[in-house]
């Protein structure tokens, strides 16, 4: 049997689970936290339930593997992270733009290092903040759940393309998000490439 060209390309596409594992993603995030947030700011590998106001930030990787590196946490955690990153430069009143900036920059650093661990050449997008991109293929996801200062944080490295398997064609959200009118950069279609 001869596969159509499109089917051949899809079949040859590597899944993220064959390229990087949870331990590597966790180590990359842990290193980013220690270097940028503080030496004693550890990510504890314990899962926790995300709150309803969870917010995501991500960068897209386009190359031999194409997808997004997504960080999801409660809004309060994103605000706390912003204060930690700004430290003494934290303004008296934190603006939503500050949270978008800080949360996005963490995704940029983690995503940049994940990209470096993946086969290239590939490109990295600017960070975005909003509702998490949809998971198109549950098999093409590397998911790490941690606690930072006791609050849950989920890091996923997730493919942007649908499965070659028919039962996975329907996109769905890895972390169901609730509509939040305060999101600065909503991502309704789940694909930003």
């Amino acid at each position: 049997m001869t596969l159509a060209p499109d089917a051949t390309a899809r079949a040859a596409r590597p899944l993220i689970t064959s390229l990087i594992d949870e331990a590597t993603v966790g180590a990359i995030a842990g290193e980013a936290w220690v270097a940028l947030v503080g030496e004693e700011e550890l990510l504890v590998p314990v899962p926790g339930a995300l709150p309803e106001d969870a917010l995501s930030t991500w960068v897209d990787v386009v190359g031999p593997w194409t997808g997004s590196v997504v960080l999801t946490a409660g809004h309060g955690t994103a605000v706390e992270l912003t204060r930690a990153l700004l430290a003494e430069a934290t303004p008296a009143v934190l603006e939503p733009e500050d949270v978008t900036d800080a949360f996005g920059e963490i995704a940029n650093v983690v995503g940049g290092n994940v990209k470096a661990a993946l086969p290239g050449p590939s490109t990295l997008s600017l960070p975005q903040v909003g509702d998490a991109p949809a998971v198109r293929n549950p098999d093409d996801v590397c998911r790490v759940e941690v606690l930072w200062r006791g609050q849950p944080l989920v890091i996923t490295v997730q493919g942007a393309l649908p499965s070659t398997s028919p039962q996975h064609e329907n996109p769905h959200h890895e972390n169901p998000q609730h509509e939040n009118p305060h999101h600065e950069n909503p991502h309704p279609n789940g694909v930003s490439l």
Partner: protein, 120 residues
């Protein structure tokens, strides 16, 4: 001496400036730029002794800024501080005339290792 810090993230500019201070470069003047185009213009108006620039920025990337500076005759010392530190990018940066590429996340030791030769 004067250091120009270019990054589209205000938070990251603050982190870079804080790390500069922690690394011992606390007696230098700091100028900020919010993208490559802003950095290009401020090199001309502020005449910094060193540019520390992000790579991936809107309007004009750090690489485009460096290339524009070199093609305009500027020889200002230029280093990247970026979340991507692949061998290809380091080679591209060096070919364009960058002195170094510091990958995020960085430490004050990383800053000293790369900046001492430039600012000492």
């Amino acid at each position: 001496m004067k250091i120009l810090v270019a990054d589209d993230s205000r938070v990251m500019r603050q982190i870079v400036i804080r790390t500069l201070r922690q690394a011992g470069y606390d007696d230098h003047d700091i100028v900020e730029a919010e993208d490559g185009r802003d950095a290009y213009e401020k090199v001309r108006t502020e005449a910094p002794d060193l540019v520390l620039s992000d790579w991936n920025m809107p309007n004009m990337t750090g690489l485009e800024c460096l290339q524009a500076l070199r093609s305009s005759g500027s020889a200002v010392p230029f280093g990247f501080v970026t979340s991507e530190g692949s061998a290809d990018m380091r080679e591209t940066a060096a070919d364009a005339g960058a002195l170094f590429l510091i990958a995020k996340p960085f430490t004050e030791e990383t800053f000293r290792e790369n900046l001492d030769g430039v600012l000492a």
